[in-house]
């Protein structure tokens, strides 16, 4: 009887969580390193997204990066970041290291509130704590400030922490993982279908980027948008593409997704903001 119980418990725990985040990370990395081994792509190369695996589009991208379309936005973001609120304080007062070189630590699990906090979320929390109105989530000033903060973090390696002994944190992680692997929308496609199973293949004329390294270069200036957008803006676009209803930016669902998605890029350098088609 006792043994039966133990067995049952083992079984249940293995169903609830088949693999640990650490194991997931190793498998995730190995999958892509293996898939693109012939092209000689190294872990850190994945920071360049699709351009790490597609030589043809890389050339035109390199030309774009010579006169980066996001350069003005970084300057504007810096000005916004340094301009005092009406109470005289600045954004620097809300962040560790005065907000410099910290991009790689986001998102993180906050045990006090049991929330996953993103950088954009804390930018708005900082504003509200100082009596200012929050900014809109997906583009505009928030993307510029985020771009400046990413810029000061360039070269730091993604370092998202999943506290393994905290069941609440694991819940957030598992929710994000589920979003990534679950088929959705009328077209019945998961993020993993396109950015893992079919990574490197062409969907129409577009080469599909690997999900490994996806987050390192956000926010991104997209020529299609004509301006800078946050990661959650992109999530919305990719949800809509499969005819699924997008979730609101900074919703629990997208923060959970960002938590999983960013953890999978641990060890890869921050190189945001980036430029994309």
């Amino acid at each position: 009887m006792k043994y039966c119980l133990i067995l049952l418990m083992l079984l249940v725990s293995s169903i609830v969580q088949a693999t640990t985040p650490e194991e997931d990370l190793k498998n995730f990395r190995d999958y892509y390193l293996n898939l693109f081994a012939e092209k000689g792509v190294k872990l850190n190369d994945f920071k360049d997204g699709v351009y790490s695996i597609d030589k043809v589009s890389r050339e035109s991208w390199e030309a774009v990066e010579e006169f980066p379309p996001y350069e003005i936005a970084i300057d504007e973001g810096k000005t916004l970041f340094q301009t005092p609120f009406t109470n005289g304080k600045t954004y620097a007062s809300c962040f560790k290291n005065e907000g410099k070189g910290i991009r790689q630590d986001y998102p993180y699990f906050d045990a006090k509130t049991n929330q996953v906090k993103t950088l954009e979320m804390e930018i708005n929390e900082c504003r509200e704590a100082n009596g200012e109105k929050p900014l809109k989530w997906k583009k505009g000033d928030i993307a510029k400030i985020s771009a400046y903060m990413a810029f000061t973090s360039r070269g730091n390696k993604m370092n998202v922490i999943i506290p393994q002994d905290n069941p609440e944190a694991i819940k957030w992680y598992e929710r994000g993982r589920k979003h990534f692997y679950a088929k959705r929308g009328q077209l019945n496609l998961s993020c993993a279908n396109c950015h893992k199973d079919a990574a490197g293949k062409k969907i129409r004329a577009d080469v599909l980027s690997p999900a490994l390294g996806h987050v390192t270069h956000f926010p991104v200036y997209r020529s299609k948008w004509g301006n800078l957008g946050t990661l959650h803006r992109r999530y919305g676009g990719c949800n809509k593409q499969v005819r699924a209803l997008p979730f609101p930016a900074q919703s629990e669902e997208y923060r959970a997704l960002e938590y999983f998605h960013s953890y999978m890029s641990n060890g890869i350098e921050v190189n945001g903001p980036g430029a994309r088609k």
């Binding site: 077209l187 496609l189 062409k202 969907i203 129409r204 577009d206």
Partner: protein, 129 residues
């Protein structure tokens, strides 16, 4: 024992044929029509298959006559040799997960991306490749 096996085989066959007949009922009805009707269906099927808001098959397949194809799925060619049984082809398009549970091909019929009538036309077009 032998007999039981036979009965089993026969009954499972009839199940397969049964569902096959269900899937092909429209197609079979069409087969009796004039060949000019078939030509018209093929032409319409091609439009539906290439339309980005409808089949958008070119997103994943290279198909003769289509531009900017993707390469997630195989080139659609010599289809009659690949699918001697037209109902199997219809099944692949209606719900590819029947043949391959972990497929990434869109379940055009099961998810009502295309109507049954549109699927019949696409089947005629693909079958002509």
């Amino acid at each position: 024992m032998q007999r039981i096996k036979k009965v089993l085989v026969a009954s499972s066959l009839s199940v397969i044929i049964g569902t096959g007949a269900m899937l092909t009922s429209n197609v079979m009805a069409d087969a009796s029509k004039e060949s000019s009707d078939i030509e018209a269906m093929i032409a319409e099927g091609k439009k539906i298959a290439f339309n980005r808001k409808k089949g958008n098959c070119l997103a994943c397949h290279e198909i003769k006559g289509g531009v900017l194809p993707g390469n997630i799925g195989p080139i659609l060619i010599s289809i009659k040799a690949r699918f001697p049984d037209k109902s199997k082809l219809r099944e692949q398009i209606w719900d590819a997960s029947i043949a391959k549970p972990d497929t990434i091909m869109v379940p055009f019929g099961r998810h009502k991306v295309l109507t049954e009538d549109e699927i019949d036309k696409v089947v005629e077009f693909i079958y002509s490749l």
